[in-house]
């Protein structure tokens, strides 16, 4: 009888990077085994060496990295074992393995496909390199693969360019390209991190079903324990280039033994958290608010107000875009925000949930005055004096900007790489002529302490900070002018779980201690649940459901809210994703919803009250469209 060999056996592998002449170890002697047809998840934070490991397996390490010891034994079905670590990465033998026996899909499907070549061209290239078959058959195979990958119109997709496809379809194209030669091993490097939750669920399901059809093994690299729970048979936890714990996921999820894995579990926000329960980040941060508390207390005294902090009425914004040929004569308009009304109370934390393209960023841009709304009004009430944002101009507008702070999603892009942290933090103070240089410097120090960073960071540049530290600097800058309202646009979605827990705790504390109002925008309901008092769910520019946190989470009414909730992968083996519910339907299309929620593009909708403060949007049929909404809210387009 033939002995079954593992598909991939890594023995004592070490990889080092050569940085300015000194070797820096990235992977320090790891060993792991992957059996044919199984899924192994490599879990760890950024910088743990999981991506470097995958690059070593494919022989695509960056030029300044090299395998310093160990072996990577790869045994494709019906062939001899090869030690990939001993092969020259550019050799013919290695090139024959890459893309044929082992394939990879990456995190960012937009930039991982060439913008200049059609999908068909890029997929058939893989067949042409590894198989010797006639051209017509190539196309046929490619179209079959696209169909398998879930393209509704594979013939059209064959001739499409990547930028003509949505993020989810691009990732499907990536998958089709990786699987066209039926590899024995698929490496999936954070395959769904850049996607919306519902799309993520669909892509995970696709990988799983193709894995069964083609009988391949999957090496899944991720930092999301929820994804792991739904996908992996075995688990390897990495930290700083070393393996902390490994074993079947059943064992590791039920009884994590290593403190690092336990800590990772504790850092993930989940829906069963008791009121007041805190996330436990791996590294807790202390912060110092005292220089800011006094002014916050002063504000409280003047400001016992009844009017909502922010009152948005019938706000709409459309974008025109040219489409089609170079002529650009065809004008299409997209309604980014459509007749949106919302009140946010003083000191409240409002969470806005929705997938990409739902208009949440457009809304936050209008609130900060970076975009002018087409219609509708935004009334900002402070110290009982209402201010109409639309009427502000010139100096008034400049003065007003102090009151709203903004934190962006990507901490890499939000900080100027050519300014020191000191200059970044001082910039808003300089613009608004806040104190003299001496006091501004002191203030910058206080701001860093406010987000728990030591003053030694002041003279450093952003590139020398980690993602979490950068995001904290970004928060500190937003707080520099003591704003009353803080708009947080996906502030933690680019961060690792443990860092995410750090930043979420910090934001929560700061809000309580400084008495600010938050508008927290995110696509992750679990994160919003942790930080928000009230939640609004947004889809296609409209709010579809609004209510208090527990109302939305315990009793989601709207089909879109339910789809969002159902698509979230839990880091819990007993709550697997219900793939059947999510697959095959487009939940962000209003026409696909059940009655009475479904509506056409021009149909009227109105609020229906579920319980106190809990509203859900329903369609108005033509006969009753004249009656006002039950909750006394507006009837909108």
């Amino acid at each position: 009888m033939q002995v079954i060999k593992p598909l991939l056996a890594i023995r004592d592998l070490a990889v080092e990077f050569n940085l300015h002449g000194t070797p820096v170890p990235a992977v320090k002697g790891i060993s792991l085994t992957l059996w044919p047809g199984r899924t192994l998840a490599l879990v760890g934070e950024s910088g743990s060496g999981k991506t470097v490991t995958s690059q070593a397996i494919l022989g695509i390490l960056p030029a300044n990295a090299r395998i310093s010891q160990g072996e990577i034994l790869f045994t494709p079905p019906n062939s001899e074992t090869v030690d990939i670590a001993a092969l020259n990465p550019n050799s013919q033998a290695m090139r024959e393995i890459r893309g044929d026996k082992i394939s990879i899909i990456f995190q960012e499907p937009m930039v991982s496909l060439s913008p200049m070549h059609t999908i068909g061209n890029q997929i058939t290239e893989a067949i042409r390199l590894h198989r010797d078959i006639p051209k017509a058959e190539e196309k046929q195979l490619c179209i079959e693969m696209l169909t398998l990958a879930g393209f509704p119109k594979p013939e059209q997709a064959f001739n499409a360019y990547p930028f003509e496809l949505s993020g989810g379809l691009r990732q499907r194209a990536m998958i089709a390209m990786a699987l066209i030669c039926h590899p024995a091993l698929l490496i999936a490097d954070e395959p769904t991190t850049a996607l919306d939750v519902t799309v993520q669920a669909q892509i995970l399901h696709l990988i799983k079903s193709l894995q069964q059809k083609l009988g391949m093994a999957v090496l899944l690299i991720t930092h999301d324990l929820g994804v792991v729970a739904n996908m992996a048979d075995d688990l390897v936890v990495m930290y700083h280039g070393e393996i902390m714990e490994s074993g079947p996921s059943e064992t590791l999820f039920r009884a994590p033994r290593h403190p690092y894995l336990q800590a990772l579990f504790a850092a993930v926000p989940h829906f069963d958290m008791k009121p007041g329960e805190r996330l436990r980040p791996i590294r807790e941060i202390d912060h110092e608010t005292s220089p800011f508390r006094q002014s916050a207390a002063k504000k409280e005294q003047i400001q016992p107000q009844s009017a909502p902090h922010l009152s948005i009425t019938n706000l709409s914004k459309s974008f025109g875009s040219r489409k089609g040929s170079l002529l650009g004569s065809e004008q299409t308009t997209t309604r980014a925000v459509c007749d949106l009304s919302l009140d946010i109370g003083v000191g409240e934390s409002f969470g806005l949930v929705g997938e990409s393209g739902c208009g949440k960023t457009t809304l936050s841009k209008m609130l900060m005055g970076a975009l002018k709304p087409d219609s509708g009004s935004i009334i900002y009430s402070s110290r009982n004096t209402p201010i109409d944002l639309g009427s502000l101009q010139g100096e008034e507008l400049r003065q007003f900007r102090r009151r709203i702070g903004l934190v962006f999603q990507d901490p890499h892009g939000a900080l100027n790489p050519r300014m020191t942290i000191m200059n970044i933090l001082r910039e808003p103070l300089v613009i608004h002529k806040f104190g003299n240089e001496q006091s501004q410097r002191q203030r910058a120090k206080d701001l860093l302490a406010l987000v728990g960073l030591s003053p030694r960071f002041l003279n450093r540049y952003p590139h020398s900070l980690s993602g979490g530290q950068r995001q904290r600097v970004s928060i500190a800058r937003a707080l520099a002018l003591e704003p009353e309202l803080l708009i947080l646009d996906e502030p933690v979605s680019a961060l690792d779980v443990s860092v995410q827990a750090q930043v979420l705790n910090l934001l929560k504390d700061l809000q309580q201690e400084l008495g600010m109002t938050y508008l927290f925008v995110s696509h992750n309901i679990a994160v919003v649940d942790y930080i928000a008092d009230r939640i609004g769910v947004m889809c296609r520019g409209r709010l579809v459901e609004v209510g208090r946190r527990e109302q939305i989470l315990r009793n989601p009414i709207h089909p879109y809210t339910r789809a969002l909730m159902a698509a979230i992968p839990y880091p819990d083996l007993d709550r697997p994703l219900d793939f059947q519910r999510i697959i095959g339907s487009n939940y962000s299309d209003p026409q696909s919803w059940d009655s009475p929620y479904a509506h056409g593009p021009e149909q009227h909708t109105e609020w229906q009250e579920v319980s106190e403060n809990h509203l859900v949007r329903v369609a108005v049929t033509a006969t009753e469209s004249t009656t006002a909404g039950t909750a006394g809210a507006e009837v909108s387009l």
């Binding site: 494919l58 695509i60 550019n90 090139r95 024959e96 393995i97 890459r98 893309g99 044929d100 394939s103 990879i104 990456f106 960012e108 930039v111 991982s112 496909l113 060439s114 913008p115 200049m116 070549h117 059609t118 290239e125 893989a126 390199l129 590894h130 360019y161 930028f163 003509e164 990536m174 390209m177 974008f319 025109g320 875009s321 040219r322 489409k323 089609g324 040929s325 170079l326 002529l327 650009g328």
Partner: protein, 332 residues
């Protein structure tokens, strides 16, 4: 696509009208005209001219007419191929320029091909071997080429060709062919002389193009789509040519717009030093002596080439890059 090109061509008409007017105004800006500088030259040689004769000449050339009438005559004349009369040469402008234009185009095309042939391999090498000795060495040579004035290089080469090989390399053909009709021998003679100006004019352009190709390629080389290609098992050279090189070609195509006019006007000083029978020296002389119709027609021709060059590069960009072709102004 076709209506777009049609619209772009229609747009060229008002552009060229405005340019022609500006050119005419600028040429007329210096005080006096060709006749005045001609008279003062004669007077400095001790001759005197009958004022009646001057007035007659003035009337003959239309120089006493109002400015707008002069402009109108010139502009409408150009429409049916009459570019005016060169005072300096005493010939119609088209006859003055004729042959020289052809030789200029020959030199320029050879120069461009030379530039590409040298710049592309070197640019690709320096980008893929960044910070290697080869990169540093070729970069040094490139900077030397960039920093050395062309005319100086021309002088150096003239000197060494004469001292080392004992040949005179000035001009574009052997003297006996200068006024001869076109023949095979004349053509060979031109080819024999051609390489010097091509190298001299080409060096600085080559160096600049190497640097730009290197910078553009370096931006692209580490993009994830290149890694994807590698992970598919694409061989290194094919990978380089199909993906990053293709994407970094945009700058190069966009350059065509500025390359066309420089075919005609570029390298004047080199042409003077090497006594090349090209158009550059004529343009300079015409501007100096206020030979207004010659200078004006020249400038007009340059403007036309610029406008056509930009059109060609826009169309080529759209053909090359699907993002430009299909995305239009998607950004709001």
């Amino acid at each position: 696509m076709l209506p777009y090109i049609g619209r772009r061509i229609l747009m060229m008409i008002p552009t060229l009208i405005v340019i022609s007017f500006i050119i005419f105004v600028i040429i007329q800006l210096p005080p006096g005209d060709y006749l005045e500088s001609y008279i003062s030259e004669l007077e400095s040689q001790g001759e005197s001219i009958d004022p009646a004769q001057i007035a007659a000449l003035r009337a003959q050339y239309g120089l006493d007419e109002p400015f707008l009438v002069q402009y109108f005559t010139w502009a409408t004349g150009m429409l049916h191929g009459d570019f005016g009369y060169s005072f300096e040469y005493g010939l119609p402008v088209s006859e003055v320029v004729g042959d020289r234009l052809f030789l200029t185009v020959v030199i320029s095309i050879f120069t461009i091909v030379f530039t590409w042939m040298i710049a592309f391999p070197i640019g690709m090498y320096t980008a893929t071997h960044q910070y290697s000795w080869g990169d540093y060495g070729l970069t040094l040579v490139g900077f030397l080429g960039l920093a050395t004035p062309n005319f100086l290089l021309a002088l150096v080469m003239l000197y060494f060709a004469n001292v080392t090989f004992g040949i005179s390399i000035g001009g574009l053909m052997d003297p006996e062919y200068l006024d001869a009709d076109w023949s095979w021998d004349k053509f060979v003679s031109i080819l024999q002389h051609l390489w010097i100006p091509v190298i001299v004019i080409g060096t600085s352009g080559t160096a600049a193009m190497i640097r730009r190709l290197r910078a553009n390629l370096l931006d692209e080389l580490h993009k994830p789509y290149v890694v994807t290609g590698r992970a598919k098992g694409v061989p290194p050279f094919k990978l380089l040519v199909k993906y990053p090189l293709r994407v970094s070609l945009n700058f190069f195509v966009a350059d065509i717009g500025s390359m066309l006019p420089s075919i005609i006007s570029g390298a004047e000083i080199v042409a003077v030093v090497l006594s090349l029978p090209t158009t550059g020296p004529i343009l300079i002389a015409a501007l100096q002596s206020q030979d207004m119709y010659l200078a004006g027609s020249f400038l007009m021709f340059l403007a036309l080439l610029t406008v056509i060059g930009v059109l060609i590069s826009d169309i080529a960009l759209a053909l090359l890059d699907p993002r430009i072709r299909l995305e239009g102004g998607r950004a709001a």
